[in-house]
Amino acid sequence: MGRITLDNVTKSFGPVQVIPPLNLTIEDGEFTVFVGPSGCGKSTLLRLIAGLEDVSSGEIRIDRQDATHVPPAKRGLAMVFQSYALYPHMSVRRNIAFPLRMAKMDQAEIDRRVNSAAEVLNLGDYLDRRPGQLSGGQRQRVAIGRAIVREPAAFLFDEPLSNLDAALRVGMRLEISELHERLRTTMIYVTHDQVEAMTMADKIVVLRAGVIEQVGSPLELYRTPRNLFVAGFIGSPRMNLIEGPEAERRGAHTIGIRPEHIEVTEGPGAWSGTVGVAEHLGSDTFFHVHETGLAETITVRAGGEVGFDHGDRIHLTPREDLIHRFGADGLRFE
């Protein structure tokens, strides 16, 4: 149904190669998330799959059929854009029906599909409004509605929630996950939100400058990052990376320890330092610890009740079994 394969795909804009040869397979029904820093080529990759950009070389296959030069409309994919890209002069109903009208479907079938999509997305009351009269979250739902009525082989989302406020984002995140549970259609989702990537994905693809750094399930990436880049990118707050004698003592060039894997105590511990900023989130507290002699700042995550303050002298003890070791080449080893 919706297996997408990229085979040595490259993309250049003029002389600049944005995507060097890239291989990737997205299995049918999988929820795949592309993450990476800004400008790393996530949107470009998505647009290549959608057919909105031509590949410079390589092959894209959808369901084992060569789709490299198939026009976007014929690929059977639906895309949800960051700006929603709703048609402002059409009512919500006509927006959702647009792809079906273009496919010359008969009116009864169009009505049936639009109504069922509206029901799924709670849009029933808004069908006769224009997009301009809707809130951000409602617009987002219309955009998703326009995508699902086509019953596509796969959905492509380009940062669909980045224009929404935090509360709404959590809600829509759940809705999209639920939609995926129900439809079981392949979804490719671009984001640079850690939480979205970790919570929604079956598979995360970490990109840097057009190169895939690692592919794996969220927990795989969290537990066994392949290299320093992935280690630093996945997880929030970021993993502490420490070089020097502490690392050499453990036979590595660099060691990494996540903030949640360090214990904070007043009494004796492996390392010591001075609390800089303490961020109290209620459930957790993040301490930014200085003067440890390890790295400029060590971030530590402690329970919400731990009450150290700026300037306090504290002791830190990492959990030895959860320390990641990296070689001089940046790769992780056991």
Partner: protein, 288 residues
Amino acid sequence: MATQHSRSAARFMMAPAVILLLGWMLVPLTMTLWFSFKKYLPLRGGDLGWVGFDNYVRFVSSSSFWPAVQATLVIVLGVLVVTVCLGVLLAILLDQPMWGQGVVRILVIAPFFVMPTVSALVWKNMFMDPVNGLFAHLWKAFGAEPISWLSEASLFSIILIVSWQWLPFATLILLTAIQSLDSEQLEAAEMDGAPVLKRFWYIILPHLSRAITVVVLIQTIFLLSIFAEIFVTTQGSFGTRTLTYLIYQRVLESQNVGLGSAGGVYAIILANIVAIFLMRIVGRNLDA
């Protein structure tokens, strides 16, 4: 600018401009109304006293009145259709990335800078002249009989000349409108399976509707009073006598100021009727 004090200060400072504009408008308007009720023949006795609605009745019952109204409307409508259609096409073309875009855009805008009198003379003498005009040569090259444009296809020729002048204006406004279209909308439509023509019809054209409304409104206001193009080409003959031109003839050629003024008042009424119609038809595009 919201306090009582700043508002009265603003009023005070705007007063000179407002008074000047009011005077500019009211003085000619009142004089036109004043003369339209008089028999006033500057070279044949001057002011011959009040005549009531005589001038109004005579102006409408003259055999040239309805043809003039018709010629005016034909020219206005013709030019509107040509400029909007070609304007949309040109705007889409100019929006495509191409080599020498800057120069091409300036060339497209250029006709707008040419004075109406000059451009009409250029068209008359260089293109439409039945002996030496470019069109005549073109026709002869194909073995056809040259057309004397301004007498045989006079209305069409005037529409052509005026359209040529107003096309840049329409193109410019429509181009800026096209450039403000979110490209993701077009991409979304492309993914939704809309081919080029449907994208134009369902996405681009509705997006342009507001700009087209503006073009139609502004052009209508100016086109109702075109004069120079007719003055230097046909002089109002061959069915090109518009209302404006008829009034001019009444006042200056027949030296009948009263009759001309009555015509002026009719022109004002006609312009308002057209404006109300336009507002009704297209005005709702503006508040959407």
